[in-house]
């Protein structure tokens, strides 16, 4: 098969969007936190917690959307821990984030193992099914690629617009962006830096958790140990690549998804000559490459990583 042929199939782009979906949630969540001045390295653990909590809720009978809600709440809970440690207490965002990742991951694994002590094959749920939107799904190419995805993928795409609209078109968004650039100016206007930052981290973390929930409730139908496998860290890299903009976050996640879908197909062509690990390394190598490419012009939120205390000028 020719390379061009691969790129021209709807099937390929459907896979790219599917791979991109958890990343879209993750990057949007991370950029909301970072826009408010807080780096959230809890993301890898929050993905795990979202994946586990959402799946388990459905397994216990909440229904799929109930599971999505539970996942978001779990993400918000761990986000709140990170926010309290880093915002009013001003502790190292790096260390707190790693701590939250360790806590969320171990708590999820512990809960899963406690609920299911000795199952050899994980129990399965009925996940979100591909939507079958009348007319739109029947469109050539676009139909199968874009409109036959599951509801969570659609939600991710909607969230890109919602996040962009809130950040750039509402006073709240203006305040969030200001609090990540110049918190003192926000305080001078009578707004609470603490409230804005904590709120942004909790909201961003809830969104991140949906990325994990997509994996167990849409892409797969079960929870596995180690299933997040670095996706969270990839999101942190993609956030820089996206220069903290929702539109570019979507673009970055799609490029990433396309590359990943492409290498899987490439593997079937040249897999005989190259070890499979070379292909598995590519997402991580690509993330590092993306960071290096944009490094010089990366326009970090100016107060990112800088703690701010009440009464400080």
């Amino acid at each position: 098969m020719e390379i061009i042929d691969i790129l021209l199939t709807a099937n390929f782009w459907a896979a790219a969007l599917r791979i991109a979906t958890p990343l879209i949630f993750g990057v949007l969540g991370a950029l909301i936190c970072e826009r408010a001045g807080v780096l959230n390295l809890g993301i890898e653990g929050i993905f795990t917690a979202g994946a586990m909590a959402g799946w388990m809720a459905v397994w216990l009978g909440t229904g799929l959307w109930g599971g999505v809600l539970v996942a978001a709440l779990a993400g918000g809970f761990f986000g709140l821990i990170h926010a309290i440690l880093t915002v009013p207490l001003g502790l190292s965002q790096h260390v707190s984030g790693i701590g939250v990742t360790l806590l969320a991951t171990s708590l999820s694994y512990f809960t899963y193992r406690t609920a299911l002590p000795d199952v050899s094959s994980p129990p399965r749920i009925i996940p979100f099914q591909p939507l079958d939107i009348p007319i739109l799904s029947d469109l050539p190419f676009i139909g199968p690629a874009l409109f036959s995805q599951t509801a969570l993928t659609m939600l991710a795409l909607v969230m890109v617009f919602v996040t962009g609209w809130v950040l750039y078109r509402t006073p709240l968004g203006l305040a969030i962006r200001a609090v990540g650039d110049n918190p003192s100016s926000v305080e001078a206007q009578g707004l609470s830096v603490y409230a804005l930052r904590i709120g942004a981290v909790v909201a961003g973390s809830s969104l991140m958790a949906l990325g994990g929930a997509f994996l167990t409730m849409s892409a797969f139908d079960a929870f596995f140990f180690g299933m997040i496998n670095g996706r969270g860290w990839v999101c942190i890299a993609l956030t820089v690549f996206a220069s903290w903009r929702p539109g570019k976050a979507l673009l970055g996640a799609l490029l990433f998804g396309a590359f990943d879908a492409f290498q899987v197909r490439l593997q079937t062509e040249v897999g005989a000559f190259l070890p499979s690990q070379v292909f598995l390394m590519m997402p991580y190598l690509l993330s590092i490459a993306a960071l290096i490419i944009v490094a010089r012009k990366a326009d970090y939120p100016k107060a990112l990583l800088v703690p701010w205390f009440k009464g400080q000028r």
Binding site: I81, L91, H94, V95, L107, T114, V234, L285, L291
Partner: protein, 356 residues
């Protein structure tokens, strides 16, 4: 309203007591998940303690676990002192182990007083070199080292897997992806007969003491602290930040690489992709519990190791998931962060005055 007031000089008791308190609180908090899992709590804690300290054998197991934790803890401590956020100790550990296996499984042979230093140096060097790239990307281009070192962990594990299915594969392993065993003369000998605790522990302790002296008594140690506290001021006073960072990177990566050598040549005897159950990440907790003090790392590594070994044996006895150990370790980290804050600030609770 809650108000925080900086403490001018926290008392010695607070500085040393806080990590102990934090660890204790974390262990007590673990009673909640234990109870929810339906375990008999007092009995469970008893089993944990006896699992880690109950016999000569369990102490040996605990110290075997503590050995790589001391080394990865030192790796994190020295890096964090310079605010170089090396989260890649796990990858550096595997690269060190791979270097040790590549040289130590029969390519060259010699008496053990030559072979042991050779594998140690090889592993440390590879670990050290591995961190230079991310460090230069940080100092030269401003690429966040947290993300690069984290992503490298995944790349290294895949690379190790590739080598174990290729060049380093043991033809006698019946298809399992594992390396040939380290030859006898390169094996770190056990310290006590028929026990697993090995020479790696002595090496780790020597590293801790040497690092403590290095940090406290040398100009380099001073420069590392200066860069960590205020890189701009350090640069202004003539310290080369890049050079200091690279030095820190080599020390940190080298120590993590040594942890890999110690595991592969001491505890395990061969390399497989499950060599480390996350020693690189646990090292971060060890370093934070020790407040980045090299000698303190010894104590906190023993604590973390006893949690792992104790929880393992407890979970076998009463059937509670051994992920409880990871949970306690994670909670210790968060508790020590809060504790560290309380040593630096006094908390005042004030009633808000109602206007009117």
């Amino acid at each position: 309203m809650i108000r925080f007031e900086p403490r001018t000089n926290p008392s010695v008791i607070m500085v040393y007591g806080v990590p102990v308190m934090a660890a204790t609180i974390a262990i007590l908090l673990a009673a909640i998940p234990l109870a929810l899992a339906g375990a008999p709590i007092i009995n469970a804690y008893g089993l944990m303690i006896s699992g880690a300290f109950g016999s000569m054998f369990s102490i040996s197991e605990m110290l075997t676990r503590a050995t790589p934790l001391i080394l990865t803890g030192l790796a994190a401590a020295i890096a964090f002192r310079a605010k170089l956020w090396n989260i890649g100790a796990e990858g550096q550990l595997y690269m060190g182990a791979m270097a040790a296996v590549a040289i130590g499984s029969g390519v060259i042979d010699g008496p053990s007083y030559i072979m042991i230093p050779v594998v140690l140096i090889a592993g440390a060097l590879v670990g050290a070199v591995m961190l230079i790239g991310p460090t230069l990307l940080k100092t030269r281009l401003g690429v966040d080292e947290v993300v690069t070192t984290l992503l490298l962990n995944f790349i290294v594990i895949l690379f190790v897997q590739m080598m174990l299915e290729g060049a380093l594969k043991d033809p006698m392993s019946m298809g399992w992806p594992q390396s040939e065993p380290v030859i006898d003369n390169a094996v770190l000998p056990p310290l006590i007969e028929r026990m697993r605790v090995h020479l790696g522990l002595v090496i780790a302790l020597i590293c801790a003491v040497a690092l403590a002296i290095f940090v406290k008594r040398t100009v380099w140690g001073f420069e590392i602290r200066a860069v960590g506290e205020n890189a701009a001021a350090a640069r202004f006073s003539g310290i080369s930040v890049t050079k200091t960072m690279v030095l820190v990177a080599m020390l940190s990566g080298g120590l993590a690489g040594l942890a890999g050598v110690s595991e592969v040549a001491g505890t395990r005897g061969y390399l497989a992709t499950d060599l480390s159950p996350g020693y690189g990440y646990a090292g971060i907790v060890v370093a934070m519990l020790a407040r980045l003090s090299p000698v303190g790392v010894i104590i906190s590594a023993v604590f973390v190791a006893s949690v792992f070994v104790g929880a393992d044996s407890m979970s076998r006895a009463i059937g509670v998931s051994s992920y409880l150990a990871d949970l306690i370790v994670a909670m210790s980290l968060l508790c020590v962060l809060i504790g560290g804050f309380l040593t630096r600030f006094k908390v005042h609770f004030e009633r808000q005055k109602s206007a009117g």
